[in-house]
């Protein structure tokens, strides 16, 4: 046990590149949820959409032999499954938390069911080759930083592109303004001629799409196979990240990286050996999230109509 290694360049490089890897599903999930929450729909069901994405991404990647087909189909599966939530909570105006909770139960059971129908009880030995890191010429040669940020797989780079694109759309385009209007004051939005239901359903489908990619990243860039309940609570972490980042996709990117890094750190602290019980380390990421929320949480203001079903005025 050499304590000095804790702050060596090699240790930090390894720590933060693991942090980046672990943050990828969180980035996709939280960026997607940012969009849908801006329009007023909460992504309690993120967890379930991730599972659908993870399973179908694995299935199609395996069957087609192409990782990209897998990612695409995972995203489509996430999107289509999110339609259930959208129909129930937007069109039928049911409470989003109950629909989300039920959807998550459905998704867990259904993906397990499909997994066993198709692969029997043993799919772990049908593993696929995952996405490999791509070193970006030039940038990846920068000491420490290069290895951490510029030697990742393609889904990592795309997650940054997605966050930036969503940031741009939300801030700079008419679509973004409409989205915000629907989340802040749907009645006024409707009066201004914005199709409230359509915007909410579409933004929620986008969230499902992103969650599908998040799931795909678990099976296709990390594990290489589907294991039951593989999302393991990441959907809920995304919800926390969205609030922590104040509905800003770029901040969500940073917050996801932070969470991933703390997770990477807690594993490494255990590896280094410690007298503390392991439960302290497992709880560490959550403890820090709560503390950050306390320190940086002043004046958080959610979209005003977040979680409120909207009823069209009858004319």
């Amino acid at each position: 046990m050499n304590e000095t290694s804790l702050f060596s360049a090699a240790f930090l490089t390894a720590l933060f590149s693991s942090g980046v890897r672990q943050s990828i599903p969180l980035i996709y999930g939280s960026v997607g949820d940012t969009v849908s929450e801006r329009s007023g729909v909460m992504g309690i069901s993120l967890e379930g959409e991730m599972l659908f994405g993870a399973f179908f991404a694995y299935l199609f990647a395996l069957r087609s032999g192409s990782l990209w087909v897998g990612v695409l189909m995972g995203a489509v599966a996430g999107m289509l499954s999110s339609l259930i939530v959208a129909v129930w909570s937007v069109l039928f105006r049911q409470d989003q938390s109950i629909v989300g909770i039920m959807f998550n139960i459905l998704a867990t059971g259904f993906t397990n069911f499909l997994n066993r129908m198709i692969f029997g009880t043993s799919n772990a030995n049908i593993s696929i080759d995952t996405f490999q890191p791509i070193a970006i010429p030039g940038l990846s040669k920068i000491p420490v930083v290069g290895e951490i940020f510029f030697n990742q797989d393609i889904l990592a780079y795309l997650s940054v592109v997605l966050a930036a694109a969503v940031f741009f759309v939300l801030r700079r385009t008419k679509l973004g303004l409409q989205l915000g209007a629907v989340g802040e004051n749907p009645r006024a939005a409707q009066a201004a001629g914005i199709p409230v239901y359509r915007v909410r359903v579409l933004s929620y489908m986008f969230c499902g799409f992103a969650a599908g990619v998040a799931g795909a990243s678990l099976t296709l860039s990390t594990v290489g196979t589907f294991t039951e309940a593989i999302s393991a609570g990441r959907g809920f972490i995304c919800l926390a990240i969205v609030i922590l980042s104040r509905w800003n996709p770029l901040t969500a990117l940073v917050a996801s990286f932070g969470f991933g890094s703390i997770q990477a750190l807690q594993i490494r602290l255990q590896v280094q050996g410690s007298a503390l019980p392991y439960q302290v380390f497992v709880a560490l990421p959550y403890l820090i999230t709560v503390l950050v929320l306390a320190l940086a949480g002043h004046n958080i203001r959610a979209p005003r109509e977040l979680g409120v079903p909207f009823e069209k005025e009858s004319r």
Partner: protein, 349 residues
């Protein structure tokens, strides 16, 4: 006022329903089990229907799947079988009771955590035989334990010790790793025996251990294994089901040795990197219990291990040199003959 009234009505209805159904069903439930199982009271020497309670999912390639597949072999022998997955602590008693009510005459709780709930149920179903794959609750006096339960704390730790020996002999860096899922007696004694096994052949070697706190997060398992490799670990034992599958994936990708758990996991890892697996022979375990039941007077405590064939080691991969294999086999023989005794150590190290 109207609302309060309607509430009161609802309460009365609820209670009414419960009492009404209660009184009508009273007579059937008390003798339901013996009538359905057809066993003569107090004899408990027949086995027709076998049920297993599992703590996790049957696709984990490990603890639960081994039990599930073992159960299927038992079914092929002509018994009626059933299982319930993911039985958590608040459902344990309910599931035990469901099976007893349904006329199952041999109910197995796969894990020491089921012991306490089983004790409460076994008293109500004296005609059913129970089998717990773990210790009896230690704070319950032996004379208070129901007679119809057999507690088998099988010596999985003997297998873990052998794994430790293999790891200790095979490591080049002098660093080996253990990845666990959570805390229960089996996990704890496995970890301690593994460390002991490593130390017995390679006192200088260091064991790095991580408890992930989950049995379901394969992505986290993979990152955990990677973190260990960064520290120079070159042999890893995992005992954490789905999470462990991620560990195996990382070993496979990075060319690091690993050791399989409860089932032969060599097919999950490329290039023979899975040096050997400790195997739990569930069919042997269950069928030996059935023999005991048929002999009469079933119950008590037993500690089957390598000696009884319940725990065994799979064939070594081609990465294991002959002299290492020889040394390991010698140790296995010592344990089998009782020359070397591995006592389970449940305490945190």
């Amino acid at each position: 006022m109207k609302r309060i009234f309607s509430l009161a009505m609802a309460l009365v209805l609820t209670l009414g329903l419960m009492t009404a159904c209660g009184s009508s069903g009273d007579t059937t439930s008390s003798n339901g089990s013996s009538a359905e199982s057809g066993a003569a009271a107090g004899e408990r020497t027949t086995v027709t229907k076998i049920a297993v309670l599992l703590p996790g999912s049957i696709t984990d390639e490990s603890w639960n799947q081994t039990a599930y597949e073992g159960l299927q072999q038992i079914e092929a022998m002509g018994y009626e079988t059933a299982y319930t997955e993911n039985v958590g602590s608040n459902d344990m008693e309910a599931v035990f009771r469901s099976y007893c009510e349904d006329g199952f005459d041999f109910v197995i709780g796969h894990g020491a955590q089921y012991g306490d709930a089983c004790c409460r149920v076994a008293v109500d179903y004296p005609d059913v035989n129970f089998f717990i794959t773990g210790n009896a609750p230690e704070d319950v006096p032996a004379e208070e334990l129901p007679e119809n339960i057999m507690f088998a704390d099988y010596r999985e730790c003997e297998g873990a010790y052998v794994c430790g020996v293999v790891a200790g002999l095979m490591t080049e860096s002098g660093k080996v790793g253990y990845v666990g899922g959570g805390n229960n007696t089996t996990q704890q004694s496995d970890k301690n025996a593994f460390i002991e096994g490593v130390a017995s052949v390679n006192p200088e070697a260091e064991v790095k251990s991580v408890i992930t706190g989950t049995f379901d997060d394969s992505a986290l398992g993979k990152e955990t294994a990677i973190a260990m490799m960064e520290e120079g670990v070159d042999v890893i034992l995992q005992t954490c089901d789905h999470t462990g599958l991620g560990v195996l994936e990382a070993c496979s990708e990075n060319g690091i040795y690993c050791l399989g758990y409860t089932t032969d996991q060599s097919t999950l890892v490329s290039d023979g990197l899975c040096l050997t697996s400790m195997l739990i022979d569930i069919p042997t375990m269950i069928s030996s219990q059935i023999d005991l039941i048929k002999a009469g007077g079933y119950g008590g405590q037993t500690f089957p291990g390598l000696h009884d064939g319940v725990v065994s080691m799979s064939a070594f991969s081609d990465k294991v040199p002959a002299e290492v294999a020889e040394q390991v086999n010698a140790i296995i023989d010592q344990i089998k003959s009782g020359e070397l005794v591995i006592t389970p150590n449940y305490s945190e190290t």
